[in-house]
């Protein structure tokens, strides 16, 4: 079913799955804030140049340059044409699937071909694109394979992208030569591009992909820095340590709040708002994927707190993807009833920008604004500014 450009067996050689969204990033330079739907044609008409292939070549050249001489050389498993083989630089062996994209290709091709690559057997799936591509990959592979995003899109708020093409290449080498720090769950955010183009940024948490944990860098003065997974485990232990018996805890969307639910002994929906009652025997699930009216009823009958984590690179705390936490719920619980949690890396990524709230109730937003303590680890907090959007 697949042909190979070389004759040596590839059985014990690392296999890099590669999928390129050839039109990713087209909209950015011409100010379109994305390339979904008809925007691609508009971008091309405005003179945009495809960028993704060039960035993939840069990443794969890094893979070839940094590949250790004593390790079996990798094979790039991909599809013919602009969604794959055209971007592979010389010197890397490729293996092509029979499946091919439609012409012109679309998001559905990404979903279908990502699944086909996993079926063909890959150790790591590298995709180039933006948030939309991440969404399509997620729909194709879920959590069946380790995935790494190569940043090539306009919007990259999902937490699945390497910092740069070179960084992606370095990470691929680290993962496939056994030098990575394991994997972690990373949020995939689905943006409504039309809303985004009209400046009403509305990232929604869609799901999570398994991505490599960031590798260590050299030159430390201090010993091993904690990984994000360690930080999240510490956050979960800290928050659950503080739970009071007889109190309700409403958990917002996200992988961090899900880790807290797990620590409390309940299963939580990733993208929904759930609620638990803390009892002598641990957590007891009250509401899964709750609606605002259910939460309003809960906070009326039960003293409650809300556990929240900022979503995406924008620092959104309320009003993006968690509108179930309505002004009514928030007013009942009050500012002192909010428990905000975030791994330090998430706050570092804000580069000094504040967290923001946009509940739709200006007066409430202003009441919530100010400085807030954020739980960043076990017995560790950081003070963050919060502003009304």
């Amino acid at each position: 079913m697949a042909d190979s450009t070389a004759h040596q067996p590839t059985a014990d050689r690392p296999r890099i799955g590669l999928l390129v969204n050839p039109i990713a990033g087209l909209g950015g330079p011409v100010g379109l804030k994305g390339t979904d739907g008809p925007a691609a044609a508009r971008a091309l008409a405005l003179g945009a140049q495809p960028q993704a292939g060039h960035r993939v070549a840069l990443a794969l050249r890094t893979v070839a340059d940094r590949w250790p001489a004593d390790s079996a050389t990798p094979v790039v498993v991909t599809v013919r044409g602009a969604m794959g083989s055209s971007a592979v630089p010389p010197g890397l062996e490729t293996q092509l699937l029979d499946e091919a994209p439609e012409d012109p290709s679309a998001g559905a091709d990404t979903t279908r071909l990502a699944a086909a690559l996993v079926a063909a057997g890959v150790d790591l799936l590298l995709f180039a694109g933006g948030d939309g591509t991440a969404r399509d990959v997620y729909q194709g592979v879920g959590q069946t394979v380790t995935v790494l995003g190569l940043p090539a899109g306009v919007k990259m708020q999902s937490d699945v992208f390497a910092a740069s093409p070179t960084a992606a290449g370095e990470l691929v080498v680290a993962v496939l030569t056994g030098r990575s720090r394991g994997t972690r769950e990373a949020d995939v955010l689905d943006l409504d591009e039309e809303a985004y183009r009209h400046a009403a940024i509305a990232p929604l948490l869609l799901g999570s992909l398994i991505v490599p944990a960031a590798p260590q860098v050299q030159g430390r003065k201090s010993p091993s820095p904690p990984t994000e997974a360690t930080a999240v485990a510490g956050i979960a232990a800290d928050v659950v340590d503080g739970f009071e018996v007889g109190r309700g805890y409403i958990l917002g969307p996200g992988t961090t709040t899900r880790a807290i639910a797990r620590e409390a002994g309940i299963a939580k929906t990733l993208i929904g708002v759930d609620a638990l009652l803390w009892t002598d025997a641990g957590g007891q699930l009250l509401l899964a994927d709750a609606r605002a009216d259910q939460l309003e009823a809960l906070v009326r009958r039960q003293p409650s707190s809300i556990v929240l984590t900022p979503i995406g690179g924008q620092g959104s705390l309320l009003g993006r993807g968690n509108q179930q936490l309505s002004p009514g719920v928030l007013r009942s619980v009050g500012r002192e009833g909010l428990i905000v949690v975030a791994a330090p890396a998430k706050l570092d990524a804000l580069a000094g920008r504040p967290l923001f709230v946009d509940t739709g109730d200006t007066e409430l937003d202003l009441a919530l604004a100010g400085h807030m303590q954020v739980v960043t680890g076990y017995h560790e907090r950081t003070v963050m500014p919060v502003v009304a959007a």
């Binding site: 860098v217 050299q218 017995h379 950081t382 003070v383």
Partner: protein, 553 residues
Amino acid sequence: MTATRLDGSDAGSPAHPARETSPSQGIAPKPFPRRFHQARWDEPIIFELSQPGARGVLPPAVDDEMRAVAGDPLAALPPEIRRETPPALPELPQLHVLRHYLRLSQENLGVDLNIDVGQGTCTMKYSPKVNDQLIRSPRFADIHPLQDPSTVQGALEIAWRLEQMLKEISGMDRVTFQPGAGSAAIFTNVAMVRAYHAARGESGQRDEIITTIFSHPSNAACAKTAGYKVITLRPDPSTGHPSLEALEAAVSEHTAALLITNPEDTGIFNPQIDDFVRLVHEAGGLCVYDQANANGILGVTRAREAGFDACHFNLHKTFSTPHASGGPAAGACGVTEALAPFLPRPTVERGADGFYLDFDRPQSIGKIRPWYGVMPNIVRAYAWIASLGGPGLREVAETAVLNNNYLMRRVLEIPGVSAPYGADQPRIEQVRYSWEELHAETGVHSEDLGIRMADHGTHYWTSHHPFVVPEPMTLEPTESYSRADLDEYAGLLASVAEEARRDPQLVAQAPYASTIHRIDPDWFDDPDRWAVTWRAYRRKHGGQPGAPADTHG
């Protein structure tokens, strides 16, 4: 024979003209950058060099006459302290020992060898060698802390006098030198904070310590080690220091203390520091000043004037004692009268009959370390301060600040580097720069640039982890370096950044002229692989079980 030039073809590039040399005729200009190449000896570990039976010194056998007089010298040793087997030490002739250590010394970039401005936060100033002569004097080197105080009056007097000096420098009422390093000093201060609140019956209530993200991480770490919860403040991007509003959100009746470095590792001095102290005091907390970054404020401002209850200095940073690669450092903790009862014991006191050690301190936190301080460093620091005097210390600070701001101006001329936070503010004694822009353009990491610098006989350190400033570089030129040194260093940075643009792989694969290539940092994090003793190395990598006594390797 005709005179040949020393590789004149290599004498400088268009971008970097040759370094200026003597104007005298016939001396070839030296190229820039230097064509440095570090020694590589592939030197084994000294245990591997051992030759059974080899001896450095062969003492003559005891002759019969002496034996008749003295008897068996070992008979005086109690049996329980006699070894049954000889120690497993390497056996080498003297020449081999000397050669081994000289080779190792050539395989590192020591502070006396390079323009060591790249180890920001460490204050790598010159340690005057004359001060080492003082501590090598037999009158000092041959004394022991177990001697009766009446026999070590000179050593105690130096410790007492240094305490008076640091009291003056900090404005505090008492100073101890017992901690063996900066972090030990921070821990000492946290332990005193804990004892203070316990004495007031508030230790259960006050379980939080506040610090800032650009304070030294040892503040947070020591607070955690002492059992406290830690709240960290981040800077306001426009001013570069945390706001009072951020502090207000952290201070409460749970606050045990504020532990803060000022200037922080960005080199930015928090001008609201007295308001910070006031807010924490109003809530019943204590304020502890980490003065590891004191080199730019000596004689300018003091912990006392900002209202602090305690502070610490690193004698191996500000006061010139050697860093010694994790060897004997020294921390000095200063406290106000209110905290003095909790100081580690003993304290050095002056009485009617001379100097004595005071162990009778019932509220003391006890001992942080044996004895009363790292005496060699107490002597060095005393000598250094005495040689400068008050005006000299202030001149140190002013020169360090001038050097830093001159270097910052030179560095910021290089495309691709920035000094985040508090744009356009002057910095005190160091700057945490960012190569984020160069990285975005070239894919080369700051780490790579720092390693490439090693090909030119110097280096730099990025930052503590995790990085808060992206692609960081922390430079602290101190007062020791000349303008020509700073120009050379800035020129090297410019040259390496230019290489990153021209040939990113060249920089990313560096070093080429160093003793070793890159090492896998994962080794430092893996207890199954790291080995700090020969026994541990053999056990972990040679398949040999450790000796029964070896439970610490």
